[in-house]
């Protein structure tokens, strides 16, 4: 289920946001993430599961290592949201301009 809502929910947790920031630097294993963050390895695994279901990260084998990395699919959801961000703002702007029209003008 790679929906925008799932992405929002996934990023609604500070630890998961920290994991995302860590993965920006490159793929990491569960162990590496757990070592870098103040949470247990099982907790990291649970967070990664949520992130994976949201489409933000994916799991893959890199050589002999099992690692997680950011997935463009999740970013696409956020990009779509950003599109909506400006659409909504400009809609309001256009409404304001129309409202500013003098009568008959």
């Amino acid at each position: 289920m790679e929906t925008y809502e799932a992405v929002l929910e996934a990023l609604g947790d500070r630890t998961r946001r920290q994991i995302v920031h860590r993965l920006r630097a490159g793929p990491s294993s569960v162990g590496e993430l757990a070592a870098a963050l103040p949470v247990s390895r099982p907790a990291v695994s649970q967070h990664l599961t949520v992130l994976r279901r949201s489409g933000l990260v994916r799991y893959e084998e890199l050589g002999t290592r099992n690692v997680y990395r950011l997935d463009p699919a999740g970013l696409s959801e956020l990009r779509a949201w950003l599109d909506g961000f400006w659409d909504a703002a400009l809609d309001r702007y256009a409404e304001r301009v129309r409202g500013a029209q003098p009568p008959g003008g």
Binding site: L8, W81, R92, Y93, V97
Partner: protein
């Protein structure tokens, strides 16, 4: 990979409004508080009470919170009324991670203006370097935007 590269292309929007460029420009900038959807588009969410658009290069776009504090969203880099305004955009993030927004106002008739908005700069990183994996770029500002929206999501 193409999918990665396309994901960092600028966001482009346009809208045609029934006003001359001068009026369209003034409403977009000086009168931003009259239309900006603060409830959903702010750092403070329900605590946001206003937004002010400065005038001239170096002036800021600032969100005003209920407790009197402010949050700077960006700084004006180009000020060419009534044709063009550009500003950095770092709502909720460090200024070093700012993206860039440019808005142009083009007359399309006696009382009609095409307003084009381009939000770019996703390749920018804290160190200013261009990233190799394009899709990772822009993550911070987008996440920050999410955080801003999440404040009112409930």
């Amino acid at each position: 990979m193409p999918a990665h590269l396309t994901s960092v292309e600028p966001v482009r929007k346009s809208v045609t409004v029934p006003a001359a460029p001068q009026r369209a420009f003034e409403l977009f900038t000086a009168h931003i508080q009259e239309w900006w959807p603060l409830a959903t588009h702010s750092v403070g969410g329900s605590q946001a009470v206003g937004v002010a658009f400065g005038e001239g290069v170096g002036a800021a776009i600032t969100e005003i919170l209920a407790d009197g504090t402010t949050s700077v969203w960006g700084t004006i880099t180009d000020w060419e009324p009534p044709h063009r305004v550009a500003f950095t955009w770092h709502a909720g993030t460090p200024e070093a991670e700012a993206t860039r927004v440019e808005v142009t106002f083009t007359a399309a008739g006696p009382a009609s203006t095409v307003v084009r908005l381009v939000h770019s700069g996703w390749e920018r990183r804290p160190d200013g370097a261009i990233v190799r994996d394009g899709y990772q770029a822009g993550w911070d500002p987008v996440v920050a935007s999410f955080v801003a929206a999440a404040g009112t999501a409930g």
